[in-house]
Symmetry: C2
Subunit: 343 residues, 2 copies
């Protein structure tokens, strides 16, 4: 089992493999990367090639691990976290360590072998959003888990796999709240204490007023290019009504989110010629009863959102060392270009 | 002039180009990357191809911007920051903005066209270290500047240029202390307040005691694979005697640092077949008179060091979204392998 180790200076957790360690020779040889083989384990009819399904939206007469589904959730075959055991938090001198208890699930977004979520009809994207929320609701019940991260890796440069491009997203559930999330929770709490308003609600108000960075506006969901975008064509997608928890998403919001995802990703694909991208859901941590501490949040000061970042520029030493990003494309230009892109 | 924009939630600054914005078409076309042309602007004899030098270590009879130097410092031809003007901090509604006042210098590390710093004799690496410290000392004098970041991009995947591989490092001086640096300053101050000891000094003591993660140990400088390494073969290089400021480096430390850099980078190159890597100096911020605030540091609680990170694994959505890293190589294995690598 790998170990969860904590950097003692900034409190960042790292998962370190212990058993199947990569030796230098694994990196030295340019590994022959698998090409798409046609034997995609995620396609309908290949259900036996994945671990047993955890959840699926199925036709009434279909059976578990058989064809007849729209969205299917399976455990990762190379999980970063394991569901069994205890955390066993312990120290080694000044260092902290624990077991990587958590979950790692794959949400297979289509029974057909599609490579772009925007190819799906809006109704099918609604199902994916529903399933994502339901999986997080279910995983939250385990008291060992603190945070659920939903994300997608699209394209090789975004960490996608070469073996199959079949559309899917992933949920990783961790026994600690990740550093980046804490940073955001801390920042929005700080603002809330000063203003007694949600910072994300204020951002939405100002962006709707200015309009220059709005990529797409629907009744319930807005997509915008953030003022201090780190990357060209970075996009945030937020519910317009304040809500800290993605798990509380309402039917109307699901409908609009499906339209926004389909449209925005479709436009990005067209404008940038199918760029690699990641998106990640940022939502409040699971444990509301632990909110007293410095790092935690309350429902009024946080606002769930999706951060979508195309990977078309190189991150180098300056960015890594400083956390300072250099963005060659103003978000105003990116938003305008995407507004004008026709599908 | 680009703009420095602040993310209102986590306080991260981003440089956004305004004038020479990259249009989507710039990303869409796979740009033909320049190959090494033999017309390297950094080679001795090509001094006219760079902006006028800022500083150089020269033979006694040589002239500025002419041959006859060992280390030469020139302004970047595509600077991220500009030396002229005022910060002009201002707000746009809830957002903060300022001018990107700062400096961006290139330290040309050799008159010969070498591509690996470990090819240099130790005495020449000592000169590079001296020049780096002297440039930071000089830049610190400008009261507009808050932080100096020294870094190196080696190889394309680490943000190095394809046009020339000539060895060089860069200094970027910024009018704000970068987020990553603040995070580390905050963490080490927190530890110092609790323990009344420097956290880095404690790490060095524990690592020397355990030995398993020590890559190289000299009288004044140590190289180790950190306990919670984010990346395979990540290495930190630290002075063994407590010091917050790289600018105060002593002659004996320079000598040992040159040996450690030459050896460790030489071993990495051999073990991993010339991997792309970045290294960055983390040192205390310039302004000691601003140390009263929450973010600032005093000389007892911070400890300068160099973070060296090979870029041999892919960072994907999970890492970006969480700040949680997955490292397939235990630092103990990496350190052992490098200790046993013979040059």
């Amino acid at each position: 089992m790998p170990e969860l180790r904590k950097d003692p200076i900034i409190g960042r957790w790292v998962i370190v493999s212990i058993e199947r360690a990569k030796r230098p020779s694994d990196f030295k040889a340019a590994r022959p990367e698998e090409e798409e083989s046609g034997q995609c384990p995620f396609c309908e009819g290949h259900e036996k090639q994945t671990p047993t399904e955890i959840f699926a939206i199925r036709q009434a007469d279909s059976k578990k691990d058989k064809p007849g589904w729209d969205v299917r959730v399976v455990p990762s075959i190379s999980p970063k976290f394991t569901i069994h055991g205890g955390l066993d938090r312990r120290g080694i001198g000044m260092y902290d360590i624990m077991n990587p208890i958590g979950a790692h699930e794959i949400i297979i977004e289509s029974p057909q072998h599609l490579s772009d979520i925007s190819q799906l009809p809006k109704e099918k994207i609604e199902l994916i959003i529903k399933v994502s929320a339901e999986r997080l609701i279910d995983l939250e019940k385990d008291p060992r888990f603190k945070y659920g991260l939903l994300f997608k890796n699209h394209g090789l440069k975004a960490g996608g796999s070469k073996a199959t491009k079949h559309i899917r997203s992933q949920i990783i559930v961790t026994p600690v709240t990740p550093t980046r999330v804490k940073e955001e929770l801390r920042g929005s709490l700080f603002y809330y204490r000063y203003k007694e308003r949600c910072i994300f609600c204020d951002i939405i108000r100002q962006e709707l007023d200015t309009e220059t960075r709005v990529v797409m506006d629907t009744k319930h969901i807005i997509a915008l290019a953030p003022f201090a975008s780190r990357f060209p064509f970075e996009i945030w997608i937020l519910p317009k009504k304040h809500c800290s928890d993605f798990m509380n998403i309402k039917k109307d919001e699901i409908n609009d989110l499906a339209v926004v995802l389909k449209t925005v990703i479709g436009k990005l694909s067209k404008a940038l010629n199918n760029p690699p991208y990641n998106y990640m859901l940022h939502t409040a941590p699971f444990r509301r009863d632990e909110r007293a501490g410095y790092w935690t949040t309350i429902k009024d000061d946080y606002h769930w959102h999706i951060e979508l970042t195309p990977r078309i520029t190189q991150v180098a030493g300056f960015e890594w060392g400083s956390g300072f990003y250099i963005n060659p494309t103003p978000p105003e230009d990116a938003a305008k270009y995407l507004r004008e892109t026709e599908l």
